[in-house]
Amino acid sequence: MPLADARHFDRLVDFLKQKRDNVTFNDIISLAEVAAQSLQGFFQAMDAKVYRELREIAGYIESMRHEIGALQVNDLKNTRIPAAGEELGAIVRATEEATHTFMECAEAVMAADASDPAAYKALVDEKMLVIFEACSFQDITGQRIAKVVETLQHIEERVSRFADVMNAKDIDGFLTEQERERAERRQKYLLHGPQLAGGGVDQAKVDEMFP
């Protein structure tokens, strides 16, 4: 397919030869007109098949833009994920505070003088009441966990839909050097973390290994 008509190139060359030393703004506009005329041949000669392909690509890009928009990346990044992180932080703090309260009560009872039964009972009653109150953390924690689970489901639905539409395939490797180092550390030092039921051995099995 010819890029442009040869006659137009000749006109361009002639034009540049004539105006070599004294180029004005109008000359530049004229040059642009000549260049545009020379490209008409290219556009006219463009194959209809190429045009269809370009339209398909444009449609695909538009569809991808829609799917990326449906991911709601900004909402996830700016609102939902930070909020979930804050909820998890609050859960950790609440469990720590409750554990601290339980242990403080237990330590107070263990250290108490039991020689005066009435005073000892009053102390135990008081500390048990504090333990009951501290147990209320579980209700709030349960609600916070439900919010985090909802966020994870929200992300999972959108990412799964996006992966399906894009026919995404997983690639091996790590996104960052830090990610690679963490994975290598986990593997080298056998850092699996707590296991769900059935995922690891229980104490009885361990005991068999240490007769």
């Binding site: 237990a106 263990m110 973390g193 296991q195 690891g200 051995v201 229980d202």
Partner: protein
């Protein structure tokens, strides 16, 4: 319990609450001289400063894990006889086998109870 409860014990865990739990359980068993460290490297420094009769260590800590601490202790001629109990949430068989191969004296899976800790300490000193 037929164990010398006057010996110093080093508890290694990066979670303060767990250190407090183990301290209280050890206190109930009669141990009074209990120190703590928040990871393997801090523990190693303490072990090289003071002679401990027992190390009770978590596995998953940063920067130095309890597994690395165990291997360091076993490769150090001045420390290699120190009894070492791993107390950890790492409950895969490969972890228990690796710890045993590295020379751990016993292994407790979290969450654990006071009786398990008592039984394991007794078992270590009955060896």
């Amino acid at each position: 319990m037929a164990v010398d409860v006057s010996m110093p014990v080093l508890v290694v865990d990066d979670y303060n609450t767990m250190i407090r739990i183990i301290r209280n359980l050890l206190k109930q068993l009669g141990f009074e001289d209990v120190d703590d460290a928040s990871d393997g490297s801090a523990a190693l420094a303490k072990l090289r400063e003071k002679k401990y009769g027992l190390v009770i260590s978590d596995w998953n800590m940063e920067p130095m894990t309890g597994y690395e601490l165990l291997k360091e202790v076993r490769s150090d001629p001045g420390l290699n006889k120190t009894p070492f109990i791993m107390v950890t949430a790492e409950s895969k068989t490969e972890n228990v086998i690796a710890a045993k191969k590295a020379g751990v004296n016993n292994y407790i899976v979290k969450p654990f109870n006071a009786q398990t800790l008592k039984t394991k300490i007794e078992a270590v000193f009955a060896e």
